[in-house]
C-alpha cells in the first residue's frame, strides 16, 4: 500500500482534503480511502454501538415521560426550565466552565514550563499526578473534612482559628446567659444589664447559667457568703454567680450553697446619664465592689466582651463559598492532568527554535510568550476543551462535598441530571432532557475547536 504522492501533497502546508482526485488516480484514491477506513473503523464501530446509539436513544427518551411509554413532546423541556434548580444549575455550571478550565490550563502551563527548569521534575510531576490516582470518592472525603467547620476536625479552620486566636484572646464565658425575668436582660450589643435600678448601699446577686461546671476557672469559689455581705452607704456590692446547682435541686434566682461565683468577669456601673461610673472585675467567689459611688440610681452591666463567642473560622461550605470550595478540590485533582499533557507537548517542541531565540537575546518571558505558547496552542486547546467538557460533567465532587442544606446552592447541571434520572427522580425522560441541554451547551466549545481546527488546516 504505497501512498502515491499527488502534486498537491508535495507542496507543504496545502490542505490535503481539497485536491479532487482526477480520472486515472481514482483507484489510488479509493485505495487510500480504504486504508483510512481500516485505520478508523474499529474505533468508530465501538463508538457507534456503545456511545452513539445510547446517546440517540437518550435524545429520543427525552420526549417521553417517566415511565417511558407515553410521548410527551417538549414537556420535559418546559418542565426543566420551570424548575428554579435548573436555573441555579446553569448559573453554577457557567461559573465552573469559565473558571476551572482557564485556571487549570494556566496553572498546568506555568507548572509544566517551570518544572522543565528543575532537576526534581519527576518527583514534582508524580506529586501532582497522585491526586488523579486517588479515587474521586476519597478525594471528595479529604476535602469534605478539610473544609469541615469544626476547627477540631477541619484543617483549614484549624489554621484560621489558630491564626485568629494568636492575635485575639477568647472571652471567658462565651456560653453564659441569664434566665429571662430574673433581674438581667440581654442588650442588643450582647451585654447583660440589670433590669431594676440599684443604688449604692445595696448588694446584688446576678445569676447566670449556661456554663458547664468543669469550664469554670479552677479557683472559682462558692458565692453565697459574698452575696450576703453588707455594703457601705457609698458602696455598691454584688456577686456574679452560676445559678445552677450541679445535679439539680437549687432554687432559681437564689445563691444556693453549692453555687459558685464567676471569677474574672468585667462589671460596669452605669449611672443615670448613661456614663460608665465605675468598673470592676469579679474575684474568685464572683464578688465585685464599687466604692465611693455618688448617690443615685445605677444600672449594672456585664459588657459583651465577657461573652463574645469564640471565633469559629470560615464557613467554607456555606452558601457563599461552597462553589469556590468545590472548584478548589477540582483544581487539586486535575492540575496534574493539565501539567502532564502540556508537559508532553512541551517536550515535543523543536528545541532549535527555542535555542535560536535565546541566542538572539530573547528573554525567557519573550520566548514563553512568542514561541512556546503559540507552538503549544494545539495542546493547550486539547487540554482546555477536554477540561471544559469534563467540567460540564462533574457532579460527584459537588455531590459529596456540598452538605445537604447548601446542595441547591452548589448544584450543577450534571448533578441535576443524575438526581433526576437515577437519583430521587427515577425520571429518565426529564433526565435525558437535561442531558440534551448539557450537550447543547457544549456546542460553543466544539465550535471553538472546529474553528481552530479549520485554521490549522488551511
Amino acid at each position: 500500500m504505497t501512498a502515491l504522492t499527488t502534486p498537491a501533497r508535495t507542496t507543504a502546508r496545502s490542505s490535503p482534503a481539497v485536491t479532487p482526485p482526477s480520472g486515472p488516480r481514482r483507484s489510488a484514491t479509493r485505495r487510500r480511502w480504504f486504508v483510512a477506513v481500516v485505520f478508523a473503523l474499529p474505533a468508530l464501530l465501538l463508538l457507534g454501538v456503545l456511545v452513539v446509539y445510547p446517546m440517540l436513544f437518550s435524545v429520543g427518551r427525552s420526549f417521553f415521560d417517566a415511565t417511558g411509554t407515553r410521548f410527551v413532546g417538549g414537556d420535559n423541556y418546559t418542565e426543566m426550565f420551570r424548575d428554579p434548580a435548573t436555573l441555579k444549575a446553569i448559573r453554577n455550571s457557567t461559573i465552573w466552565v469559565v473558571v476551572a478550565p482557564t485556571l487549570l490550563t494556566g496553572l498546568g502551563l506555568i507548572l509544566a514550563v517551570l518544572t522543565e527548569k528543575v532537576r526534581w521534575a519527576t518527583a514534582f510531576k508524580l506529586l501532582l499526578f497522585l491526586p488523579m490516582a486517588v479515587s474521586f470518592l476519597a478525594a471528595g472525603i479529604i476535602f469534605r473534612l478539610a473544609y469541615e467547620e469544626d476547627p477540631d476536625r477541619g484543617v483549614l479552620n484549624a489554621v484560621a482559628v489558630g491564626v485568629h486566636d494568636t492575635f485575639q484572646d477568647a472571652s471567658s464565658y462565651p456560653t453564659a446567659r441569664a434566665r429571662d425575668g430574673q433581674g438581667l436582660a440581654k442588650g442588643a450589643d450582647g451585654s447583660f444589664r440589670t433590669t431594676g435600678e440599684t443604688r449604692p448601699g445595696r448588694t446584688v446577686a446576678l445569676g447566670l447559667v449556661g456554663v458547664q461546671p468543669d469550664e469554670l476557672p479552677a479557683g472559682a469559689a462558692p458565692a453565697r457568703r459574698a452575696a450576703s455581705a453588707t455594703a457601705a452607704p457609698d458602696e455598691l456590692r454584688g456577686v456574679v454567680y452560676l445559678d445552677f446547682t450541679p445535679g439539680g435541686g437549687g432554687e432559681q434566682g437564689k445563691v444556693d450553697a453549692k453555687e459558685r461565683g464567676l471569677p474574672q468577669l468585667a462589671v460596669e456601673a452605669v449611672s443615670g446619664d448613661g456614663k460608665v461610673a465605675a468598673r470592676a472585675t469579679t474575684a474568685a467567689d464572683g464578688s465585685f465592689r464599687f466604692a465611693d459611688l455618688a448617690a443615685g440610681p445605677y444600672e449594672l452591666r456585664l459588657p459583651a466582651r465577657n461573652f463574645a463567642p469564640p471565633y469559629e473560622g470560615i464557613s467554607w461550605l456555606g452558601p457563599a463559598l461552597v462553589t469556590p470550595a468545590v472548584i478548589g478540590a477540582y483544581l487539586w485533582i486535575w492540575t496534574g492532568f493539565a501539567m502532564v499533557l502540556i508537559g508532553a507537548g512541551l517536550s515535543a517542541l523543536p528545541r532549535e527554535t527555542l535555542e535560536a531565540a535565546r541566542m538572539d537575546g530573547a528573554n525567557e518571558w519573550q520566548i514563553f510568550r512568542r514561541i512556546t505558547v503559540p507552538l503549544l496552542a494545539p495542546v493547550l486547546t486539547v487540554v482546555f476543551v477536554t477540561l471544559v467538557i469534563n467540567v460540564m460533567k462533574v457532579f460527584d465532587l459537588v455531590y459529596i462535598i456540598a452538605p445537604g442544606p447548601v446542595q441547591e446552592e452548589a448544584t450543577v447541571l450534571a448533578t441535576q441530571m443524575w438526581l433526576v434520572s437515577f437519583g430521587g427522580g427515577q425520571d429518565q425522560g426529564l433526565g435525558s432532557a437535561l442531558g440534551v441541554l448539557l450537550l447543547v451547551l457544549v456546542v460553543p466549545a466544539m465550535l471553538f475547536n472546529v474553528r481552530r481546527f479549520r485554521r490549522s488546516q488551511s
Binding site: 474521586f136 469534605r144 458547664q212 446542595q407
Partner: protein
C-alpha cells in the same frame, strides 16, 4: 461513603454511590454447600441488597443457616446505595438476582409498579400472617398483592441520652413532650445544650417531624398525610411544625445553635453526645444510635448511653415510627424455587434469631425469642416495636416519592432544613412542603 442511610437509598445518595462507588458490593463468597443435605441441594439463590460491612457479614450468617437447612447455596451481592439502578441494569442485562432486600417501602412500590416482582407464595404469606402484626403485611402489599417480607426493622422513636449529663442537670427522662422541653431547658441551664440535631442530614429532621405528627395528630391523619390525601397545609401539620419549632428555637436547646446544627451530620450528632468532649446531652434518632455510640465511641449501652421512648405529644399516644428492609422475589430470577424457600425461611423466628444474636438488628417477628438479643437495651427496643403492634407506622418520608422524601437538597429534607434555620413561620413551611409534595406525588 459518608452517610449511608437506608431510607435514602433508593435514590438520594445514589449519585454518589453509583458514580463513585460509594458503597459496597460485597465479595462473592459463596456459602458452603449445605451439609444438612436438604431438599434443594445443588440449587443456588442470589440475594442482592444495600448492606455492606457488618450488616453484610451478619446477613451472610442468616444465609449460611438457610444453606445448612435446605442445601441450597446462597450468595449475597451488594448493590451499593442505589438499588434501583443496579437491579434495573441487572434485569436489562439478563442477570437478575433472585431475591432483593429493598430498603424502604417507596422502593418496594416502585419495583412492583415496574412489574419486576413476583407475589410471595401462600406458605410465606401464611407464616407472615401468623408471626407478624398485620401492619407489616400491609406495608409489604402493593395493589392487593403481597410482595415484601419485612425481615429487618428499625425503631425510629428512641431518644438517646448520656445519663451523666441528665444527672448533672438533675433531671429524669421525660414522659411527655412538654416535660422534655422543660427538662431540656434545665439541662441547657446546666451549661450543656440539650439536643444534638443533625440538621445537615435532612432525614433526621423528617424523623423528628414524623414522631411529633404521629403522636399529636394520630395514626389516621398520619396515613392520610403519608399518602398525600391530606394536604401539607392542613392545620395539623402547622401545629406539629410549631411544636417542633418550640424545641428548635428554645434557648441553648440545640448544640451549636441552629446554624451549628445545620452543619452537623448524623454521625457527628451522635459524637456530640457520646464523644470524648460532650457538646449535648441528648440526640434523637433510631435504635442504630446505640450501635454507633458503642462502636464508634466505645460507650457501654445501658450504662453510658441509654434511651427513652420518644415522648407523647399533647396527650396523644407515644409514637412508634418504624421502617425496615423487605425481602422481595424478582420475576427474572433464575431460581424461583430456592428463592421462595428462602422467603419461607426469612419469615421464621429462627432466621431472625440468627441475626439478633449478632446485634444491630431488630425483628418485627412476634415469635422471635427476645432472649436472642444480645443486651437488655436492644431487647427492650425490640419489645417496644413488637408491642406497638398495629399502631406502628412506617417512616412517612420513606413512603413518599424520593424527590420529596429522600433526596439531599430537595423536597422535605431541604424544606425542613430551612425550617431549622428559621422556625418562625410554620405556615410558610407547610405551604412549601405542600408545593413540593404536590409536584412529587403527581409523578
Amino acid at each position: 461513603m459518608m452517610r449511608l442511610k437506608r431510607r435514602t437509598v433508593a435514590a438520594c445518595s445514589s449519585a454518589l454511590a453509583l458514580a463513585l462507588g460509594a458503597t459496597a458490593c460485597g465479595g462473592g463468597d459463596i456459602a458452603p454447600a449445605g451439609s444438612g443435605g436438604g431438599k434443594l441441594d445443588g440449587s443456588k439463590v442470589v440475594v442482592a441488597g444495600v448492606w455492606s460491612g457488618t450488616e453484610q457479614k451478619n446477613f451472610r450468617k442468616v444465609l449460611d443457616a438457610f444453606t445448612e437447612k435446605t442445601g441450597a447455596e446462597a450468595e449475597f451481592i451488594s448493590t451499593g446505595d442505589n438499588v434501583s439502578t443496579v437491579i434495573g441494569s441487572k434485569i436489562e442485562g439478563g442477570n437478575a438476582p433472585d431475591v432483593v432486600m429493598v430498603p424502604q417501602t417507596g422502593v418496594l412500590k416502585q419495583f412492583a409498579h415496574k412489574g419486576w416482582l413476583l407475589p410471595l407464595g401462600k406458605k410465606t404469606e401464611q407464616t407472615v400472617t401468623d408471626n407478624f402484626a398485620p401492619v407489616w403485611k400491609n406495608y409489604g402489599t402493593v395493589d392487593g398483592d403481597f410482595y415484601g417480607l419485612y425481615f429487618k426493622a428499625a425503631h425510629k422513636s428512641t431518644v438517646w441520652y448520656s445519663p451523666d449529663a441528665l444527672d448533672q442537670a438533675g433531671v429524669k427522662p421525660p414522659k411527655t413532650y412538654a416535660e422534655m422541653l422543660k427538662s431540656s431547658a434545665t439541662v441547657a441551664d446546666s451549661g450543656l445544650p440539650a439536643f444534638a440535631v443533625a440538621g445537615e442530614d435532612g432525614w433526621t429532621l423528617t424523623d423528628w417531624f414524623e414522631n411529633i405528627y404521629l403522636s399529636q395528630a394520630g395514626p389516621q391523619k398520619y396515613d392520610r398525610l403519608a399518602a398525600h390525601e391530606l394536604p401539607w397545609t392542613d392545620p395539623s401539620v402547622v401545629r406539629a411544625l410549631t411544636t417542633l419549632g418550640e424545641l428548635f428555637s428554645g434557648k441553648d436547646l440545640v448544640a451549636g445553635g441552629r446554624q451549628g446544627a445545620l452543619s452537623t451530620d448524623f454521625p457527628s450528632s451522635v459524637g456530640q453526645v457520646f464523644g470524648a468532649d460532650p457538646e449535648a446531652a441528648m440526640v434523637y434518632e433510631g435504635d442504630f444510635v446505640g450501635s454507633i455510640a458503642k462502636e464508634e465511641y466505645g460507650k457501654k449501652i445501658g450504662d453510658d448511653a441509654a434511651f427513652f421512648p420518644f415522648p407523647a405529644v399533647d396527650g396523644g399516644k407515644a409514637p412508634v415510627v418504624s421502617g425496615g428492609d423487605a425481602a422481595v422475589v424478582l420475576k427474572d430470577g433464575r431460581n424461583r424455587k430456592a428463592a421462595m424457600a428462602l422467603m419461607d425461611y426469612l419469615a421464621t423466628p429462627e432466621a431472625a434469631e440468627v441475626w439478633a444474636a449478632e446485634g444491630g438488628f431488630l425483628s418485627p417477628n412476634q415469635k422471635a425469642d427476645p432472649a436472642a438479643y444480645g443486651d437488655d437495651t436492644t431487647r427492650s427496643i425490640a419489645k417496644s416495636l413488637v408491642d406497638a403492634g398495629d399502631t406502628v407506622r412506617f417512616d412517612m418520608s420513606d413512603q413518599a416519592p424520593a424527590t420529596f422524601g429522600g433526596t439531599k437538597g430537595m423536597g422535605e429534607w431541604k424544606i425542613l432544613q430551612d425550617f431549622l434555620r428559621d422556625p418562625a413561620d410554620p405556615k410558610g413551611t407547610a405551604a412549601a412542603l405542600e408545593a413540593a409534595a404536590a409536584k412529587a406525588f403527581k409523578n
